[in-house]
């Protein structure tokens, strides 16, 4: 039921782990529903220099986390805020309909981490042209 790309990102997830000196961290989901995603960002000069994730969840949850980190790494905060769940799902060659919520969680986790960075670093964010 999963595409080859989903299985690839599930079996060999990219950017797993944490960033000890992350300056933006976002956690979304809850254990009751069976999915929790946490994203760590290292942002410098408005650019996401590094990103890592930890996920408790199904195959699609792990694959969408992995793909989302690849899609925002090296990108600007603005680009990261523009990331959509649809783009994540498409980059994985699609998800089964019942798993689309996993891609939404990946989008929300990235957004939550970026918003955490902006909240903690309002001046730098302003320089990058972003305000909450």
């Amino acid at each position: 039921m999963y595409s080859e790309k989903v299985m690839d990102h599930f079996s060999n997830p990219r950017n797993v782990g944490e960033i000890p000196d992350a300056n933006g961290v976002g956690t979304v989901g809850n254990a009751k529903c069976g999915d929790i995603m946490r994203m760590y960002l290292k942002v410098e000069d408005g650019i996401i220099q590094d990103v890592k994730f930890k996920t408790f969840g199904c195959g699609a949850a792990i694959a969408t986390s992995s793909m989302a980190t690849e899609m925002v790494k090296g990108k600007s905060l603005k680009d990261a805020l523009a990331l959509t769940n649809k783009a994540v799902a498409e980059a994985l060659d699609g998800l089964p309909p019942v798993k689309m919520h996993c891609s939404l969680l990946a989008e929300e986790a990235i957004h939550a981490a970026v918003e955490d960075y902006i909240k903690n670093n309002p001046e730098e964010a302003k320089k990058a042209g972003i305000e909450l």
Binding site: I36, G57, I62
Partner: protein, 392 residues
């Protein structure tokens, strides 16, 4: 890769002996059992021979066995057929909260048609208390339906006692024995059951064939209306190759059952003992009163579907009660009914053995599982949070 199959509660491969018995009924013995000519009479002979084999395996009479398309149809028929046949007597049905969906969803449908259903709770091991059955009986109760063995956690129910209570109150008793056939000795008289469902593919028979035992004198509406097949109660030309396969499979499955079960139980107990050595795991279901081939454990801080996919990549087929494998956002109703919190229910793993499994299969599972668990936990934020909380 040498694949290991430990999802026998889901389905089993048809045994070669069974298949060999079935094949002629696709070819030279293709007759319709309702036909008068010799081709038809040969088919009739095979049909009645299979019926006798199923009856013998259950301690029943051949004319109490009706062939169906499987366990779900048998369950649907027993419930709907009894409810409508006895609606002049009342409208109340008693079942348990951990039945298969073929029972639970049929009960929900009956509720929409004027029937009332009591879903009995179970204890932490998934056992129904016979005293609860007795307490739930009212003067409107027309049917009690309790499964023999749970498909997820393997817990065996006190069927003979529940049957005794039902009969003392003059209420028919149906038992979904789909998981029990070939795993534990089943006898419709010792068990005090009036109806019993079974399914061929759970014991090395073909898919798409099952049976409903109906004790002589039990009131039951017809399920499929049409021709005179199955004494007019389940019309449609009989699926003879599958029926012959069912007869052969149930005969083989119920031979030397104690000896076979003992070997399977040894593998089961070795799996359980060693999996529980992984920290933060628990056994689901009853430690003793469980199917010989059922292992069900919750592994905290990881999610079941991810675990199954990893096991599959390592060549091991298993199943889980996580939401992601149930097709909804809620984990298994059985795991919730025994009191597991959602997050622990999401991390369940079921390994179900058959007599085709070997000790080498057990070795392989025990070799690869701890590493997979460790890897998935290493990427789980729940695990991180738990460890940092413990270190404080």
């Amino acid at each position: 890769m040498n694949r290991i199959y430990m999802d026998n509660a889901g389905t089993t491969p048809t045994s070669p002996e069974v298949l060999a018995k079935m094949l002629p009924y696709f070819g030279e013995c293709f007759g319709n059992a309702s036909s008068i000519h010799s081709t038809g009479r040969d088919a009739r002979k095979a049909l009645e021979e299979a019926r006798r084999k199923v009856a013998d395996a259950l301690g029943a009479k051949p004319n109490e066995i009706y062939f169906t398309a499987g366990g779900s149809e048998s369950d649907n028929w027993a419930l709907k057929g009894s409810a409508f046949a006895r609606q002049d007597k009342g409208n109340h049905i008693i079942t348990s909260s951990i039945e298969h969906h073929a029972i639970l969803h049929t009960c929900e449908w009956l509720e929409k048609h004027g029937f009332e259903v009591t879903y009995l709770p179970v204890d932490e091991y998934g056992r129904v208390d016979p005293a609860d059955v007795e307490k739930a009986i009212t003067d409107k109760t027309i049917l009690i339906s309790i499964m023999a063995a749970n498909n997820e956690i393997g817990t065996l129910q006190p069927i003979p006692e529940i049957g005794k209570i039902a009969h003392a109150h003059g209420i028919p008793f149906h038992c979904d024995a789909v998981q029990a056939i070939g795993a534990v000795p089943v006898n419709v008289n010792d068990w005090n059951v009036d109806m019993l469902s079974l399914s061929g593919h759970k014991f090395h028979g073909p898919k798409g064939i099952g049976a409903l035992y109906v004790r002589t004198g039990t009131k039951l509406e017809s399920f499929v209306h049409g021709g005179a097949q199955e004494r007019g109660r389940r019309a449609g030309t009989e699926n003879l190759p599958a029926i012959v396969g069912l007869g052969e499979a149930i005969t083989l499955a119920t031979q030397n059952i104690e000896e076979k079960s003992l070997r399977i139980m040894q593998m089961r107990d070795r799996l359980i003992e060693n999996i529980l050595k992984i920290p933060y795991t628990r056994l689901n279901g009853h430690p003793m009163q469980r199917l010989p081939g059922n292992v069900n454990v919750s592994i905290q801080f990881i999610e079941g579907e991810a675990l199954l996919l990893r096991l599959d990549l390592a060549g091991i087929a298993a199943s889980s009660g996580s939401a992601c494998t149930s097709g909804s956002l809620d984990p298994s109703h059985v795991l919730l009914a025994i009191g597991l919190p959602h997050e622990i229910a999401h991390g369940s793993l079921r390994l179900s053995l058959s007599d085709w499994n070997t000790e080498a299969d057990v070795d392989e599972v025990l070799k690869v599982l701890p590493g997979i668990v460790e890897n998935l936990r290493s990427m789980s934020p729940m695990w991180d949070d738990f460890i940092s909380k413990n270190n404080q």
